[in-house]
């Protein structure tokens, strides 16, 4: 592969890269970068975050209600299982 131009140019469109018909030289970092989206590269992902969203009172209430729901239901599951294991005479 020629190194004076981006390796795998046009690779995202599926065109065979310059100077080759069979494949891509993935030892060349430019070939790798030409196939991945900016946010797909591990090093790039490690450097960026979407950051916390603003949790409105409505969203907080929704999340808390879901948490209470799970806790109550888990207690009921335990009761139900105990009943199944030790059925009333």
């Amino acid at each position: 592969m020629r190194h004076d131009e981006p390796a795998g140019a046009g690779a995202r469109d599926g065109e065979p890269p310059e100077g080759t018909t069979a494949g891509l030289d993935l030892a060349d970092p430019r070939a790798v970068l030409s196939l991945l989206e900016a946010d797909q590269v591990v090093a790039a992902k490690q450097r960026s975050r979407f950051g916390h969203r603003n949790l409105t009172p409505g969203v907080k209430a929704l999340l808390w209600s879901m948490r209470v729901y799970v806790v109550v239901m888990l207690v009921l599951v335990v009761i139900s299982v105990l009943r199944a294991i030790h059925p009333a005479p």
Binding site: A38, K45, R49, F50, R53, V81
Partner: protein, 477 residues
């Protein structure tokens, strides 16, 4: 589109945003070129195959062409065939044995449609953000809510993993294989799938194993199902189930839990990311998910039909465990049919053990911000692989300890999955409606209506279970 919220000044991170920019054209390209990992190179290789296939099949009327679909299917099929796991297939078996052909056939189809609505959202979320579900919850909602969500996942996954090894033990037990050997075989298969350090190989091996979920189809055919009754039931939802309300309610919950569970959300999103899918692959990802739904629904219904002879002959299956269904079916579907059923339970346990342990490991790696990809060599991502193997080994070991209440775990696992699902779905819905994260791939009104309906149905089912537990006399009438 709204710009992302600015990070606090103290944050060492840049603000991420939804983008389809090629990395080579990014301002950071020069820096990134020196920081590429084995994972990046493997992912680029997978993308190159997809690019070439797209180029070859340009103009094709199918979604990018058959070879593109072949390359892009995986997470959707795996998640649904993985969820056709040992406890799920036993729930279907119990459904057929206790209630025959009727209400539950279309009900199972409905649960799979619910699953399709949910899992399609994970495809979009993964393809757009290139981040796993646990990572996104921690990013957007913070550690407080993140750890709650992770706790639900880890508890549910571990209990489910235990039931998979119960299924593996029981399935091979039908052939006279000792529990310790059966569980060892299961663990060896999990280890062998990750030994290559390559997502693509792992996915193809697991897909090849998952297709054996279809063993329930010949088992069903050997039971000579009444196709007319099955067709009538699918169209009319009748006859309605009769019997103890408690049993019916438990099976309704178990059948829902056999199709929509939190691990599926975490698994498919992370697998979409690990596979390297991009927004342009979303249509193929939807097809992959739909294919998984069709296959899994078909195999689930086959398990119900295979056990209908037990209902027709009045066999009491209420206390049956895994292998006992196969043994009880032998007089009606023959030894070959019973063996296929037992092998199906074994396969269901194996594939689910692989998928669920991987789901736990992805979440673990994402939260700890350590390497979390099946494209990483073992030495580079040992915490990720340790979590994967450690969870599988702990579950396998628990199954072998005498006196552990395995029956209780089996009874509980699908119910716990249903009850933990509404909070998981609320996080998912909030994320896919988040324009800062999803950009133009955010949910539309139809997707939201479908998603909210699924949450409402799950909550109604959960409340029904709760009322039945607190006021058992109500449903005993």
């Amino acid at each position: 589109m709204n710009r992302p919220e600015k990070q606090p000044d103290s944050s060492p991170y840049a603000a991420a945003r939804p983008t389809t920019d090629v990395a080579a054209e990014s301002p950071l390209a020069a820096n990134l070129a020196g920081l590429l990992t084995h994972e990046d190179v493997d992912r680029a290789r997978d993308r190159w195959r997809v690019s070439r296939a797209r180029w070859r099949e340009r103009g094709s009327k199918t979604i990018g062409g058959l070879s593109v679909l072949w390359l892009l299917i995986g997470p959707g099929v795996l998640v649904f065939l993985g969820e056709n796991d040992a406890p799920s297939m036993l729930s279907y078996a119990a459904t057929g044995a206790r209630f025959g052909i009727g209400f539950f056939l279309p009900f199972v189809v409905l649960t799979f449609l619910m699953g399709l609505v949910v899992q399609e959202m994970t495809v979009r979320l993964g393809a757009v953000t290139h981040r796993g579900h646990a990572e996104m919850i921690f990013d957007r909602f913070g550690k407080f809510w993140g750890f709650f969500s992770l706790g639900d996942l880890i508890l549910g996954n571990f209990l489910t993993l235990v039931t998979e090894f119960i299924g593996i033990r029981a399935g091979l037990g039908f052939f006279g294989i000792r529990p310790i050997i059966a569980v060892g075989i299961g663990l060896a298969v999990v280890i062998s799938t990750i030994a290559t350090g390559r997502y693509w190989t792992w996915e193809r091996i697991t897909l090849a194993l998952a297709i054996f979920n279809g063993l329930f189809v010949p088992a069903a055919l050997l039971s000579h199902p009444d196709w007319k009754a099955a067709g009538h039931a699918l169209l009319t939802w009748t006859p309605l189930p009769r019997g103890r309300g408690e049993d019916i309610l438990l099976l309704i919950l178990a059948d829902i839990g056999a199709t929509v569970t939190p691990w599926m959300i975490f698994f498919q999103q992370s697998a979409v990311v690990d596979k390297g899918m991009q927004p342009r692959d979303i249509r193929a990802g939807r097809f992959d998910t739909l294919l998984g739904v069709v296959l899994a629904a078909g195999f689930g219904i086959a398990a119900i039909l295979a056990c209908v002879p037990l209902y027709l002959h009045g066999i009491n299956s209420s206390q049956f465990e895994a292998a006992q269904f196969a043994e009880a079916l032998e007089p009606w579907i023959g030894h070959a049919g019973a063996a296929l059923f037992a092998l199906g339970i074994f396969e269901a346990g194996i594939v689910a053990a692989i998928a669920i342990s991987t789901s736990s490991a992805y979440a673990f790696g994402e939260v700890l911000e350590t390497g979390h990809s099946l494209n990483r060599p073992l030495r580079d991502a040992w915490p990720f692989y340790s979590a994967l193997l450690g969870s599988a080994a702990a579950a396998a070991g628990l199954v072998l300890i005498p006196g552990v209440p395995l029956e209780m775990i089996v009874l509980t696992v699908n119910v716990v999955a249903v009850l933990a699902m509404p909070p998981a779905l609320v996080f998912l819905l909030l994320l896919v409606n988040d324009a800062e994260v999803m950009g133009e791939q955010a949910n539309g009104s139809w997707e939201n209506a479908a998603g909210v309906t699924v949450v409402a149905l799950l909550i109604v089912a959960g409340i029904g279970f709760g009322l039945g537990t607190v006021f058992p006399h109500w449903i005993h009438r």
